[in-house]
């Protein structure tokens, strides 16, 4: 557009400022500010006082402002294998849970999106309905299902598939079950939103050009639902990396996950700076793949760039 296209309109500028400003203000207050506070704590030292960490900047008088940035917390986290193991385990659990959610959620989303229109809303309701019960209660319910004398074991014993109860609760398997169950809707909903927008005539065109239904799915439906797959995977992967409640309730006491580690450092050891350093590193761990993914997606959408 030529720079002199139209005269400036103060009213319009103001409304633009408000439109752009409000989301930024929101992000500033609810994301940036807490981030800065946590970052600041992560660079402090723990102490037995209220608050349980030292101040970064100290006014020493005579015009001297002393700033102490303590990188000990980061060094500790990076040098101690147990933290690294927790990170790796969290990433592993998140990765496989995301994969499982995708494998289970895609067919479900596809089935709902292609169901007769009068069925779609009821089916979606079934996906959303569990949200009406507290998350905590639903995870507790899994304890009842998975424990040694629980519903699942009794059922399998009754069927005669097993001779003695399986130890599922307080294992990694229980964590997977709990996480996949809890996060499945976050995979299904964006996929559903994407798949309902898929133009069915594209599949007819593929069939017309000699493509069998399964190949048409691979060549047309799957690539066109990439945005939904990415959105769903993000919505599952990111919160699962930091997941605390499910591993804590369903996992064994020796389960190493970042979320639990954080909780322990904050509340049991009252080492806020170390916990904050963990949180910052976790954030970095999540932001970097996110940025990479976004750049990859942009590049894929516009190969000329």
């Amino acid at each position: 557009m030529p720079p002199t296209a139209r005269p400036r309109q103060p009213g319009r500028r103001l409304s633009r400022l408000v439109n752009i400003g409000i989301p930024y203000l929101w992000l500033g207050i609810f994301f940036l500010l807490p981030f800065v506070i946590v970052l600041q704590i992560s660079l402090a030292e723990p102490r037995l006082a209220q608050p349980p960490y030292t101040a970064l900047a100290e006014w020493l008088g005579d015009g001297v402002l002393s700033i102490r940035l303590d990188l000990q917390n980061y060094l500790l986290v990076l040098s101690d294998d147990i933290y690294l193991a927790a990170f790796m385990n969290s990433l592993k659990v998140a990765f496989f849970c995301t994969l499982l959610c995708l494998l289970i959620g895609y067919p479900m989303a596809y089935a709902i999106a292609t169901a007769p229109s009068r069925w779609r809303i009821p089916l979606l309701m079934l996906i959303i309905l569990p949200f009406w019960t507290s998350f905590l209660i639903r995870v507790y319910a899994w304890i009842g299902i998975l424990q040694t004398s629980g519903f699942l074991n009794n059922f399998l014993l009754w069927l005669g598939l097993i001779d003695e109860p399986l130890a599922i609760l307080y294992t990694q398997t229980a964590i997977y079950i709990g996480i996949v169950y809890s996060y499945l809707p976050f995979m299904i909903l964006p996929l559903y939103a994407n798949l309902t927008r898929l133009d069915r005539t594209l599949l007819e065109a593929a069939a017309d050009l000699g493509c069998r239904p399964f190949r048409a799915f691979v060549r047309v439906t799957l690539p066109l639902s990439r945005a939904g797959i990415i959105a769903g995977c993000m919505l599952v992967f990111i919160p699962v990396v930091g997941e605390f409640v499910i591993p804590d309730l369903l996992g064994g006491p020796d389960t190493l996950m970042v979320g639990r580690m954080l909780w322990t450092e904050f509340f049991s050891n009252v080492d806020w700076p170390l916990a904050s350093a963990l949180a910052i590193l976790l954030l970095g761990l999540l932001v970097i793949p996110f940025v990479l993914m976004q750049r990859w997606q942009l590049a894929a959408e516009d190969p000329d760039r």
Binding site: L202, A207, D208, L209, G210, C211, R215, L224
Partner: protein, 378 residues
């Protein structure tokens, strides 16, 4: 004699021994209680440019989809090139379709779109690249090969879709409103291009359109459809000059209709009595019973309109000029011939408008010869 043979080669439907390339036999397609296609039978010959013409919702697209295999008939059978394809899925039919919305794959380039069908039949890579190049050249879109559909204009998309549907060298190409999404000027140019293309490659084309002018320009034959049924199948000339019923007469171009009853028959000449004055004489090959109610259909340009009328003309209806619409090349005259009927007439403006002999309110007579129209029985 040789003339007759040529005519048969050009118009295989005139030849009772010609084997049709596509045969639709008593096909019906129901959606719930809607009969989208209602007991349609139809033969299409090799190399034809066949059009299905009708207003929106009359079942044209459904009939085309039945040929493509995208829908299956509720009853009846479909034969293509001698084989019964009624139950064959679309991906195994020797047929390709150009969709009304083009249905280009948005995540693939023009080139990949055109190549898609060839990949499915596992054509070797070299041959595939060659064919794609051929198709892009044929439709003059070579320089767009790396573009995605959303980087193309409407006309370019239309060409890409056409290239894709032709790439597999189908025996039969189906086109659903191929020019529907183009603006008027582009549409007129593309009509001729499409006909030239079809003549060059010799593929049998079946197109769907709601635009009668388009159907008249492009087709070897036209099937006029209404409410799932075929009302008439004929050449553009046949449809225009000899409509077989009132709906077709009114749907294609404009027409003047006069209602009456058969008064007398003399060979293939019938005399029809109307409420508009003297009886009307028309040529009509059908054996009509005396007293049968009929409608005489006459195209406006076949009527002479003049103020200097004679009393001994064969067919004459008198009236008053009520309105004149000047369109440049022609003028349209509205003539009141009875208290409840006004007819429209087109006259070429041979003289400048100021020197026209007819004016508002003038007493005029409309005259035509017995061979200038048809007698319809419904």
């Amino acid at each position: 004699m040789s003339v007759a043979i040529d005519r048969r080669a050009l118009e295989p439907w005139q030849d009772p021994s010609a084997v049709p390339f596509v045969r639709i036999e008593r096909v019906t397609k129901q959606f719930g209680d809607i009969y989208a296609v209602d007991d349609v039978s139809l033969s299409i010959f090799q190399g034809e440019f066949f059009s299905l013409l009708g207003s929106s919702g009359c079942g044209k697209s459904t009939l085309l989809r039945l040929l493509a295999g995208l829908d299956y008939p509720s009853s009846g059978r479909i034969f293509i090139d001698g084989a019964d394809v009624t139950d064959i899925p679309p991906y195994q039919r020797p047929v390709n379709m150009m969709f009304q919305s083009y249905a280009l794959f948005p995540h693939m380039t023009v080139e990949q779109n055109v190549e898609f069908g060839l990949e499915q039949e596992r054509m070797p890579r070299r041959e595939r690249a060659e064919r794609v190049g051929e198709m892009l050249d044929l439709l003059k879109i070579g320089e767009l090969r790396k573009r995605k559909p959303d980087q193309l204009s409407g006309g370019q998309r239309q060409r890409a879709a056409l290239a894709r549907s032709l790439a597999k060298h189908p025996k039969l190409l189906l086109l659903d409103e191929p020019l529907g999404a183009l603006d008027k000027r582009l549409r007129e140019n593309t009509q001729f291009e499409l006909v030239n293309l079809q003549e060059r490659i010799g593929t049998t084309f079946v197109t769907v359109t709601h635009d009668q002018e388009e159907a008249m320009t492009m087709s070897s034959r036209i099937a006029v459809m209404e409410a799932g049924r075929i009302l008439q199948i004929d050449t553009p000339t046949g449809i225009y000059e000899f409509p077989s019923n009132r709906f077709v007469a009114e749907f294609i171009g404009s027409v003047n209709l006069f209602e009456g009853r058969v008064m007398q028959r003399d060979g293939d000449l019938v005399t029809v009595e109307t409420r508009l004055g003297r009886p009307i004489q028309m040529r009509c090959p059908l054996p009509l019973a005396l007293g049968k109610p009929v409608t005489i259909a006459i195209r406006p340009e076949k009527i002479r309109l003049s103020a200097a009328y004679r009393d001994d003309a064969v067919n004459q209806i008198r009236g008053t000029v009520e309105d004149i619409a000047y369109l440049g090349d022609v003028s349209i005259y509205h003539v009141r011939i009875s208290p409840d009927q006004v007819t429209r007439m087109t006259l070429a403006n041979i003289q400048p408008q100021t020197e026209q002999e007819l004016t508002w309110g003038q007493e005029v007579a409309m005259e035509w010869s017995p061979t200038s129209g048809v007698v319809l029985t419904d």
